[in-house]
Symmetry: C2
């Protein structure tokens, strides 16, 4: 493995961020040390892709946010309209054309540290934006490598919580092995990537995906890709699959709001599909951007 | 179950706290929103009991801290001397006679959010103190109740990380069922409490404890209790045990830096030992305070 990092993995935050009602400079953006996000990982998050300055699949992200909050007995920190306004303000104030908006809600803070839910605490709301190359992402041309690691996470991976230490360790391990992303396995089966969903293409062109359950996150991007595949007559098979199956597939891909649809060309020491992105995943990525462009145009019309 | 909370579970922080080099008022104590403790639960903590204004079992807490950091590839944020000085300053500045000092180290921050370890980030260090009644804790007279919940945590519970969301949910569930603490079970066996270690006394007076492994935290207070039991001729048996065994025991106890040695008199709807603290646990609690008083006297002599 190369000692040089093969992939750009560090992106800087845009200058202006949102913290509990205020737009402030990133370097001044602070939260109480008693915030339960800091003390207990008692919070949830969402990451929404921005393409042509517009939010992609925003509605399902907010639906998933509400589900995560509900599962943890937490409240929405503000109205739906207010939340969308903050997202759009960050894009506008920071001049984001392509990138992402990150959103985190925590159970707030009290003066001290006590495990049970605090009575009457106001949820904390933090958002920031980041410029990243999505449509011209060089990784999509070459494909990326995965490194397999055991999935040691908790049992409620369907909740998009900030208790991400296992994912940090998985993705650091992947990076140290020259890979872009981890592929996590448990009980002999692939669960998902460190911060992405994984799927593969069978010889007959069928796409195989693990069924949603408490074991993986209901990926918004994967759901968009599934819909696009379905619309173009590609069959989808939802079932458990092993790492060996994934490594023997002709095409493998990851799906996330930051990688979108990304071809995987290597897993551990095994090349996938001759080490080149394959036609099905290329096609799905192209369809994804068509869908995103269409969404962006519609929003641009609606908001202008 | 009573609708009224039976136990005091909310304690307020002492006025002065320590954040990355400064002593500041608790309400002004803030950390960057990019701190990896807030974004990723990428940090560890310790809680040390304070009795007679002195730190109890401080050395093993710091040893465990160093182990947690090492397991996560993190550095100590400052020298050992400096860390002890901060602990003692917080006790002194806040006039803590009995209570605790909380310490948290995170992997620090960079300008943005990226899973892999940031290059050259400085660890964050946060400490605060809290006054609580330890030697005169009314719960020790009556004993406390436990509520059983499934243990859904990750597989590295030996690391004292701030990824505590599962524990928050377990302890909130316990509170909502009128209990003081959760007893977590997995694969048919008891693991530990939501933020404590659990043990029981057999009919022949032997104390039964689960062996340390990745499945539970190496409790400092439990180790102190084990040593005291051993010194007084009480046998210790380390093995897996079930919830049924725990519920059928004559005496059950929890051990933690905030509960110290605490008799358990109820688990779910089952009364333990007739619903009263038993002689072995009472004795161990008394021995613990003798040991703590001895430690406090020695420190007081050394530091005066």
């Amino acid at each position: 493995m190369s000692a040089e990092p093969k992939y750009k993995t560090a992106f800087a935050c845009a200058p202006l961020v949102y913290v509990n009602g205020d737009y402030v400079a990133a370097q001044d953006a602070k939260i109480s040390i008693f915030d339960r996000g800091f003390l207990f990982a008692d919070g949830v998050y969402e990451v929404t892709a921005v393409i042509s300055g517009q939010l992609i699949d925003y509605a399902p992200h907010i639906e998933r946010l509400k589900r995560s909050l509900r599962e943890l007995g937490m409240d929405m920190p503000c109205s739906d309209d207010e939340l969308e306004k903050i997202h759009r303000s960050l894009i506008e104030k920071n001049g984001i054309d392509e990138g992402l908006v990150y959103l985190q809600v925590t159970r707030g803070s009290e003066n001290g540290r006590n495990f049970p839910f605090p009575a009457g605490a106001k949820p904390s709301l933090v958002l920031f934006a980041q410029s990243t190359e999505l449509s011209e992402d060089p990784k999509a041309e070459t494909g990326v490598a995965l490194a397999s690691v055991p999935d040691i996470r908790w049992e409620r991976r369907d909740i998009k919580s900030v208790a991400l230490l296992a994912q940090v360790l998985a993705k650091q391990e992947a990076k140290s092995r020259g890979a872009f992303e981890a592929v996590m396995t448990q009980d002999g089966y692939v669960t998902e990537g460190g911060s992405s969903s994984l799927g593969f293409v069978k010889a007959d062109g069928t796409i195989v995906l693990r069924p949603f359950s408490n074991a993986i996150l209901p990926s918004i991007t994967r759901q968009a890709v599934t819909k696009l595949a379905d619309q173009t007559g590609v069959a989808i098979e939802e079932r458990l699959f092993t790492l060996d199956e994934l490594m023997g597939a002709s095409e493998v891909f990851m799906a996330s709001a930051t990688a979108l649809v990304m071809p995987v060309v290597k897993i551990d020491d095994q090349r996938i599909g001759g080490g080149q992105p394959g036609p099905v995943v290329r096609k799905l990525r192209a369809l994804y951007f068509e869908m995103a462009d269409q969404q962006a145009r519609e929003q641009s019309d609606a908001w202008s």
